[in-house]
Amino acid sequence: MGEQELFWVMSPVIVLASLTLLFARKAVYVLAGMIVVMIGLAVFYVTLEAPFLGMIQVIVYTGAIMMLILFVLMLVGVDQKESLRETIRGQRWIALAAATGLVVLIVTTVYRIELPIRDIGGMNDGGNPQVIANALFGEWVLVMEILGLVLISAAVSAIVLTHLPRSGDRRSQAERAEERVRARLNPVNKPMPGVYARRNALDVPAIDPEGKPVPASISRVLKARKQDKDGSEWRAIGKDEAAE
């Protein structure tokens, strides 16, 4: 039922997308390619009468795993390009030769094989998800339980490697605000630039109650670029000056 046609449409898409893994420079493009591959596989599964597998493929691989990888990439710097310097000389050629050998081996083998057409009609009798449930919790129930153990150990491992217990007591927002007030720090935010000054541009410091400029009100970046003003010329006119 359109299976073959769909195959010939989807497979070039998948192959092209998977080529990004080899040739794309940006990590995000590689991931985007992977996502296309995953969704393409899901489409194949659905056309091959395995809709449950197809949906799980999208939800778990595309939705969760690839997303987490993207998430990590974003946190560690998505713009980093890989260093192409080889630490071991010639390993690229060795790898290429080995890969070619493997490809030749597999292609020649698979080419010679003639797989019989298996009749899988009736395999989904009772509903595809139900059949899978029966298999997972029937014949393969022990494997599911082992998988449970794998997941426990994976979760615990991840926690061991990443969880830093909080040292010291956890303080609430209110307590921290109170502490700041007691220590005579800024009770709320630092003043915005230009507060009480005559201009409110970003490079103009705020003026404190005594009429002095507040350096902390200007962004550190501007200071580093030496683009800040000292603020004296923008000071609000005091009563004395106004009287003159």
Partner: protein, 459 residues
């Protein structure tokens, strides 16, 4: 062990559905759909969604205005309805500004991904039962398609839709969008877990993931009542999933300008906008289908003359009513609640919603085994009270006041300070309090009190 499994996968003995006269099994009728019919259905859904979004914008503005004691749009057209035409045109005709550091391909692809995934969900939502198409003999369900894992398809679309947000945030080549995108991916993944867990018991009860089956299984009792905790869980998760207040952290204005869509303008922004509103409609429609009986008429109406209101084109009305009731809920929540802090939000998701979801699945599984094994007199006699008790417990937990506020500042006396002593107004320190405002005499309340006092003094 084995018995439990047996009970979980065997077909449901309970709710029995008696098909009305002349009922044709919907799946077969779907198979009979001609290509033309499929195309017409698809276009109809598209048009319906686009119009609904336009209406939703007006609806939201109007309702939220009323909640804030304003009037809202009222100039153009009746009830200000034409305002939305102006809104839409403005959105499309605005100048398209984009950043130079953007990633050309993904910058444009990202909003498209969002929109496409949003549109896809409605293809499996049953808007009505099998109906006869006017002027023809063809009978077809009011639904584009349905398949054995249709309910999972909805989750899959949501999962892929996140990429629109994440890639858009990254492709903008700017900090706020990136942070917004990272936040959003974490948020949606977290709340998708809770959402998935809330759906498990629905599948258990309907023994199917066909959306029409799920609607049919609710003929006697809506799952929203029977599986109340799951329903509540879904309601919370759906708000988190659509990035709406109080969970709109990816675009928290005060922190992130507009989150992942900061650098988008004009029509590309419109795509995101469209996706967000369609997603609201989607989750509402899913909640309707899975928990609120889908297109079936609500109880007193469903009893009218042997369920005539559940046939023909009537169900479309019930479906739309339920969806818009949920849309109203969205607006109501937005009008009532404040945005959560990010850590509070994540804690709610991981430490409350997911454990509750897991616990509920286990509890329901056990209850169902007991029922199927006939160790219980009736599923309703035991599980309904259990559901109610659990639902109440959930509500209590949700609304339990976090640690009673200890008076840390109060050391017995509260000093009144002169707020403007140094010439500048200063806020009170801990243990201090402001004197009553001099303006307090100017309010209506104060004046009437003063008048009463004066009257008494006179008298």
């Amino acid at each position: 062990m084995v018995n439990i499994v047996n009970a979980l996968v065997s077909p449901t003995p309970s709710p029995s559905v008696t098909p009305p006269e002349g009922f044709v099994p919907w799946e077969q009728t779907l198979r009979g759909d001609s290509l033309l019919l499929v195309a017409i259905k698809a276009v109809a859904i598209l048009v319906f969604l686009l119009l609904s979004v336009l209406f939703a914008v007006w609806f939201e503005r109007k309702v939220i205005s009323r909640m804030q004691e304003r009037i809202g749009p009222n100039i153009h057209g009746p009830f200000g309805l034409f305002q939305l035409v102006g809104d839409a045109l403005k959105l499309l005709l605005k100048e398209d500004v984009s950043v130079t550091k953007r990633d050309r391909v993904l910058y444009i692809a990202a909003p498209l991904i969002s929109v496409i995934c949003a549109f896809l969900v409605f293809s499996v939502i049953p808007i009505g039962p099998a109906v006869r198409i006017p002027f023809t003999e063809d009978v077809t369900p009011l639904q584009l398609t349905d398949f054995p894992v249709a309910a999972l398809f909805i989750l899959a679309c949501a999962a892929v839709g996140v990429y629109g947000i994440v890639l858009g945030g990254w492709a903008s080549g700017s900090t706020y969008p990136l942070v917004g995108a990272v936040r959003s991916s974490a948020q949606i993944i977290s709340y998708e877990l809770a959402m998935g867990l809330s759906l498990v018991t629905v599948f258990m009860m309907s023994s199917s993931m066909y959306t029409q089956d799920i609607v049919a299984a609710q003929a006697d009792l809506w799952f929203g009542v029977l599986l109340l905790p799951a329903f509540l869980l879904y309601i919370v998760a759906m708000v988190g999933e659509t990035n709406r207040l109080p969970f709109d952290l990816p675009e928290a204005e005060g922190e992130l300008v507009a989150g992942y869509m900061t650098e988008y303008s004009s029509i590309k922004f419109a795509w995101y906008f469209l996706a967000e509103y369609i997603n609201m409609l989607n989750v509402s429609a899913v909640a309707t289908t899975l928990f609120l009986g889908g297109w079936r008429a609500p109880w007193p109406l469903s009893a009218v003359s042997d369920g005539v209101l559940n046939t023909g084109y009537w169900p479309v009305l019930w479906f739309l009513a339920k969806v818009w009731l949920l849309m109203f809920f969205f607006v109501w929540v937005r009008g009532s609640l404040m945005r959560l802090r990010y850590d509070q939000f994540m804690r709610l998701g991981w430490k409350l919603l997911i454990p509750i979801g897991l616990g509920w699945v286990v509890l329901w599984g056990v209850a169902r085994v007991l029922y199927v094994k006939d160790w219980l007199p009736s599923v309703k006699q035991v599980t309904v009270p259990a559901a109610i008790v659990l639902g109440l417990a959930t509500v209590v937990v949700l609304f339990w006041p976090s640690k009673p506020g200890e008076e840390k500042t109060g050391r017995g006396r509260v000093k009144e300070i002169d707020a403007t002593a140094g010439g500048f107004p200063v806020p009170p320190k801990p243990g201090e309090k402001l004197p009553p405002s001099p303006r307090s005499t100017r309010t209506v309340d104060a004046r009437s009190q003063a008048k009463e006092k004066g009257d008494r003094d006179k008298g």
